[in-house]
Symmetry: C2
Subunit: 334 residues, 2 copies
């Protein structure tokens, strides 16, 4: 409960900064398109991480505001572009930018986001360092998204995809991909806070470790809910329906299945239009393994690791908030 | 002839810089996709402008290399994205990035370009100034592209486009759009050179004016060739076939036509699939006005203005090259 309030407080700080920057140089008719993604909401977890990590390193909130807004905008940029790539029509129960304004306007709005992100880097206190951190985080995220797409088993039929698709997955490859796709930006969110506070190297390393662990936990839990979640507003078995192999539950289940089961499961993922029966069969295959427990345990271990890595930081209410935030991420499971 | 050699010399300097940077952090399997656009060639006019403007302001070539490569990469970034927006399959006689690797990989390659552009700004000598110049140029170019799309009279049928399409054009609106779509980046190319040379304000202003005039001339001539060109490898009447109203020839012709002719011409532009007869009719309508002469005169005036604005610069071989480059742009007309 307290964490939700912390997040709401952060959103109140960050949203006006994002909206203000997004207006910079956007034509009057372009402004509603450019603002739309940010206005559909979001938990602002990444911005909260930047501000709290800055405070936990004894920095001032005001020095972290622009970097926090910048990180949150990178996230929104990636959502706009991902929806174009995936032909996504709905997000958070609302039409996506592309559904509302068409692909061309959405793509241009995404590109415009990227320039505003650049302006925010220019206006940050530790400008050069923040800029380098941001460029690297976006680059790694792009590569993660690229690999993630290559794990899809159906739904895209261009020659490149057909030739280069991954046809099996291992936990090792899974972690390689989510480290890029999700964790890098969350780690950068934390580091942006530490940089804004001019934190010592020891504190930066602790913050980076926290960011990495909580980022991994975040994705693993997201994957779990994409398969088993019901109360989240997501469709049960969502990633199966979307032919996605790069899901923690699927990856661990595949390595626990017999060769015959594995073949069958991948065959289902590769089916263009899945019937309810086939989805049920795939879910049964997943549940026949010990994966559910294994993935829950994995997520919990990551959260524990995240909290542990904060040990070297001095006591503060921000440090407590960061610990609660880690619990909050894990609490989505229950 | 000399100008072509100058351009080839610039390309030789710039291409290795672009290729080297594009490798930064790209996965081995992503490198060929990321490199593809640059490797399809291009005249490298923008890079040449950066280097020559730096030299004309008494700067050293080596200080302009990274900014020149950066500007050329912005151009390539915009081409990749434009081809996605326009579903373009061919460019310079070769498959576009999206045609070769599919839209998702092309979009990610475009986004990756943008990060490399950021790295080049970080590595430039006048880093902050070059970064701000670049961010602004890309923002303005995005808005120009957005307006340009809204001038298309058919071919896109999303709700936003149908509601917001421009249904008439004036020379004033035309210039507003091409200043954003084309001129801003060419002006930035020139200014990047002046900034790299730490030029005086007077010299910078001269360079900016040169860039703007030559940028306008460049687009006007491109438009002329898109309608009347035959030896350029482009299809005669190309912009008519592609339903584009934002072309200098069309805009000036529209303002010279009778209301009846104007209505008829726009009606043809709005036709989904144009027959040869209709294209012929549209061409006849264009030729019935005095536009051909008017647009040629306009382009020539712009080139003369561009050359004039260099007057305040000290004599140098780079200054001569810039003047020749202006003539070279105009020479495409004959």
């Amino acid at each position: 409960m307290k964490t939700i309030k912390t997040l709401q407080r952060m959103a109140r700080l960050i949203d006006p900064v994002m909206i203000q920057y997004l207006k910079n140089g956007a034509d009057r008719n372009f402004v509603p398109i450019v603002n739309y993604q940010v206005k559909t909401g979001g938990k602002r977890v990444r911005a909260a991480l930047t501000i709290l990590c800055c405070q936990a390193c004894k920095g001032r909130i005001k020095d972290a505001l622009i970097p926090a807004a910048m990180i949150e905008l990178i996230h929104n940029y990636s959502l706009i572009m991902d929806d174009i790539i995936d032909h996504g029509d709905l997000r958070r129960g609302l039409p996506t930018v592309r559904a509302k304004y068409g692909d061309p306007q959405a793509l241009l709005a995404g590109m415009f986001h990227r320039e505003i992100i650049g302006e925010m880097a220019l206006d940050s206190l530790q400008s050069k360092e923040i800029h380098a951190l941001m460029v690297n985080a976006i680059k790694v995220t792009i590569e993660g998204e690229r690999l993630d797409i290559l794990c899809e088993q159906a739904g895209r039929y261009d020659q490149y995809m057909l030739k280069n698709r991954y046809e099996n997955m291992t936990p090792k490859l899974y972690f390689k991909i989510i480290k890029k796709k999700t964790t890098e930006l969350i780690k950068a969110a934390c580091l942006a806070g530490a940089i804004s506070a001019r934190a010592t190297k020891i504190h930066r390393n602790a913050i980076a470790k926290y960011g990495e662990k909580i980022g991994l936990a975040f994705q693993v839990i997201d994957d779990f809910l994409d398969i088993f979640g019901e109360k989240t507003g997501k469709q049960k078995g969502k990633d199966i329906i979307e032919h996605k192999m790069n899901n923690a539950v699927i990856v661990y289940a595949l390595s626990d299945m017999s060769q015959k089961q594995r073949k069958r499961f991948i065959k289902i993922l590769q089916t263009k239009r899945l019937t309810k029966d086939k989805i049920r069969e795939a879910m049964d295959l997943l549940e026949s393994t010990n994966t559910k427990v294994k993935v829950l345990q994995l997520a919990n271990d990551l959260v524990v690791d995240a909290k542990k890595s904060l040990k070297v930081l001095p006591e503060s209410s921000a440090k407590n908030d960061l610990q609660e935030l880690a619990d909050f991420v894990a609490a989505r499971l229950y």
